[in-house]
């Protein structure tokens, strides 16, 4: 149940959205990603109204311009680390040496170059989320959506993942939306919003810091 939500995000902007369970944080992300459709209102991404696109066009848009990080990692269990990361490139038609170089660079930047050929089940939670991060960023999306990416991680791993996310976003100049329960996690973003029954608004006590 989402009401009165209005958010405008520019390239390179990184925001966090906090809120109690059930306020619809994940739903908001799904709406932005075009996985769900709103009953009313508009979602405009890079000038295109998502409601005017069919599922295929939305899927292609998501494939090319967005990256997803989930709380439960959602790596494909049958694919090795390197294959999971290479998948978005394959989907976008980036192949051969270019793809190889990008995947290797991406894995190096999340510190997992030596785990390239491991199966996901052989990794720790923090490592898995770093693979997921690499997969979300490897095709250089303009928007990265992260849904509770640290929810299943210990404090150290969580900090590591969040620092990586921020650094990569800033390096690529991509926009990012981080949905989280954790105040500490939210603080790594440029702006913190709170989602409640009244809608989405900038967190009062965090405005100063931002």
């Amino acid at each position: 149940m989402l009401n009165g939500v209005s958010l405008e995000l520019r390239a390179g902007e990184y925001v966090a959205i906090m809120g109690d369970s059930g306020t619809g944080k994940s739903t908001l992300l799904n709406l932005i990603a075009g996985l769900d459709a709103p009953d009313s209102g508009r979602i405009v991404f890079e000038g295109q109204d998502l409601a005017l696109l069919d599922d295929n066009r939305r899927t292609r848009l998501r494939r090319a311009r967005m990256g997803f990080v989930f709380q439960a990692f959602h790596l494909l269990p049958h694919l090795s680390v390197v294959r999971n990361v290479a998948l978005p490139l394959a989907l976008n038609g980036v192949r051969g040496p270019t793809a190889r170089a990008r995947v290797e660079a991406m894995l190096a930047s999340v510190g997992l170059a030596d785990r390239a050929h491991s199966a996901p089940s052989e990794l720790s939670g923090g490592e898995m989320q770093r693979v997921a991060l690499a997969r979300a960023l490897v095709h250089r999306p303009t928007l990265v959506l992260a849904d509770e990416p640290t929810g299943n991680l210990d404090a150290d791993s969580a900090r590591e993942v969040l620092e990586l996310l921020r650094a990569q976003l800033k390096r690529d100049g991509a926009a990012g939306i981080l949905v989280t329960h954790s105040r500490a996690a939210a603080r790594t973003a440029d702006v913190i919003y709170v989602l409640d029954e009244c809608g989405l608004h900038v967190a009062p006590d965090e405005r100063m810091q931002a």
């Binding site: 994940s26 996985l35 292609r60 694919l79 290479a86 192949r95």
Partner: protein, 839 residues
Amino acid sequence: MIYGAGALLDAGVLAPMRHQLGRTLLAAVAIALGIALGLSIYLINRAAADEISLAARSLYGLADLAVVATSQDFDETLYPRIARTRGVAIASPKLELEAKLAGRSGAITLLGVDPFRYRELQPAFANAATGSMPFSRTLLDTKTVLLSASAARELELGEGDELRVQVGLKPVGFKVAGVLPAQTLGDRVALIDIATAQWVFDRLGRLSSVDVRLASGVSTSEVRDDLLALAPNRIRVTTPGEATDDALRLSRSYRANLTALALVALFTGGFFVYSTQALAVLRRRREFAILHALGVTRQQQLGFVLAGSGLLGLCGSALGIVLGVLLARFGALGSDIGAGYFAGESVQAQIRVAEVLAFCALGVFVAFAGATRPAIEAARVPTAAALKASDITSGELQSRPWMIALSLALSAGVLFVPPIAGLPLPGYASIALLLIATVAATPWLVKGALRSLPQRPVPPYEVALAELSGTARYAALSVSAIVVSFSLMVAMAIMVTSFRGSLDAWTQRILPADLYVRVGGVGQSAHLDERAAHALGAIPGVARIETSRFARASLDPNRPALVLSARSFDRDELDDALWITRQSVRRAPLGTSPVWLSEAASDLFGIHPGEIVELGIEGETLRAFVQGIWRDYEHQNGAVVISRDDYVRLTGDRALNALWLWLDPNSSLADVRERIRGTLPPDAAVDLRAPGELRQMSLAVFDRTFAITYILELVAVVIGLFGIASGISAQVLARRGELGALRHLGFTRGQIASMLAIEGAVLGTAGVLIGLASGAIVSLILIYVVNRQSFHWSMDLHVPGALLALLSLVLVASSALIAVWSGRRAMTGDVVRAVKEDW
């Protein structure tokens, strides 16, 4: 593959297949078995059909038409009239005889020909010679024959050897003057001079056919009617093509039914693909959601599942084709599938490229058909929900009542459709629809069954039930995987047992005497004369004797003749020796003779008790009153029993082929047997058997013929077990986390094992019960519709209770064991990690 164009294919299709290698292989094997059986049956069929056509065609040579006797033969005065008919260029007379081989089993076709006419129609014969002597001259010597290549090979005779056949009870020898080139005659045939044949076999002045070559520019239709008008009821005029068709029609029902059985195996494979793919899609719900979130379109997802199935179908077909060719060429199947229809040697199965492609396409099609619904479901997985849902195995449990009702209604409806082109296609369609309805109803039945199970405060039982109800969709799919194969197995078991039981009862019924003597068969040269029969009847210890003579009778000159058995029995005693299923209460009206038609004859000609028909016998016509219809498993094209008095009055033929001997109560069978042997000429080929031996022989033939169905049953059981194993093990593996949690809660390993065993047993029992019910109905369709339509055989229902109970137990026990075994495998890993694991 990581960065190449195949990366997507790998991620969406190959990696999941590799990950589930065992299950993937099983599905491919299921298709391979179907294709292998189908292909081997097809190849054997084709080889047999080719052989039959070639043999039929080679008899004609260059002839355009043949004038053929409707019964055994016609008077040779017809021959000059045929030769003089306008448009006829060459007329070649023939006398065809079945000669019983002397001193060994079997018979050979003797073809009496006029060598100078014959060579004009058979160029290969005209050019053949032995030394400087052309074959056409060698035949002029009395008592010489020329053997066809296959006859020479099978009888192991060559030039200069002696071919010995039996005429009456006396052996007669012919000198083999040479062996014909293989292309002259395809069959097991010996050529003989026609005058010699008429003389030696006591058929003076008789011909069985005249081959006709027309003058150039004359069409067959112009001459056909003129020829037929020469002797309307005694002859029919055929073309080589029609003769080939007739020859093929004899075995057509049998071959069509075999093909249908092979398709059944393939159908089962298709259902197996359906259940494995449906389970895979359920299991991969989250994976599909992730892929969709990453940007894989719905069409691509559909493509992934279909591509996976296509690949499965292709691998299965390839394996099946190799297996099928091997089975056709080297399998024991070849000789038995022929069921006595094909005298040919081993199958030289050469498979053509087009056939390979066709069977591959069939396998892929079946795999696609099985995967279509799961694929559409894969494309419909609601992404947001599937990403979030913790329980990926739950889901809507749906049976569509309208679909079940429609399938059932159609299934019942098509049973009233008459056979198409003489084949029981509507019956098979009905079976397919019934099975589809059963599978569609399975979720609903499983749900009902789960609800009706009693609650017990035993933790493993409680959890097992809760688990099954919570994952009812998985459960229903696991069950439907075995429902189809088990139904078919049950149906075939009941059908074969019913047939075997009926055949057994039938042989006992038609063999009321203590001893049987048989000399020669229909149209064969060997026979007994009345004096010999009297001599046998006078042997001490023999109380009573009855006789039969075999011949041909025709109800319609344009259709294959019936087998005629002329019996000495009193009319009332016939009831003992025939299994009468329907009869007229009236007595034969004055001027008619009572006859008894077999069920096949009644079905094929649409004749019922109480009707009066004209029966053509040896060129004469008998006004016959159909007194009764009898059950007959021996003559597929129909048979008729008439009284010996009528037969002798009509034809003057007093020869005999079979004797029924009843013994004095205090005489010994062995002694009488000994005395009979002593009475007959020592080298006469005579079948002397007690009813028990004949019964054993016919059951042995039955078992050999139906061996193929036992193989199919075995395949069905194996596929059923695959189905259970695949369904249950997937489900258990998907629940590793839950099993770990139960261990944390204090479940012992034993309790978990019994919980899984209960789940497996419940699923297995559900599948077995549904399969038993639908299989029983399918068996009724097979017995009362399909068999009746294709073979015109009625049979009584015999249910193999012990066998079905045993098979049911095996399936239920294996389900329980597989569940426990999968659980053990799932638990060997780190249980704590399993709890943490997310997929």
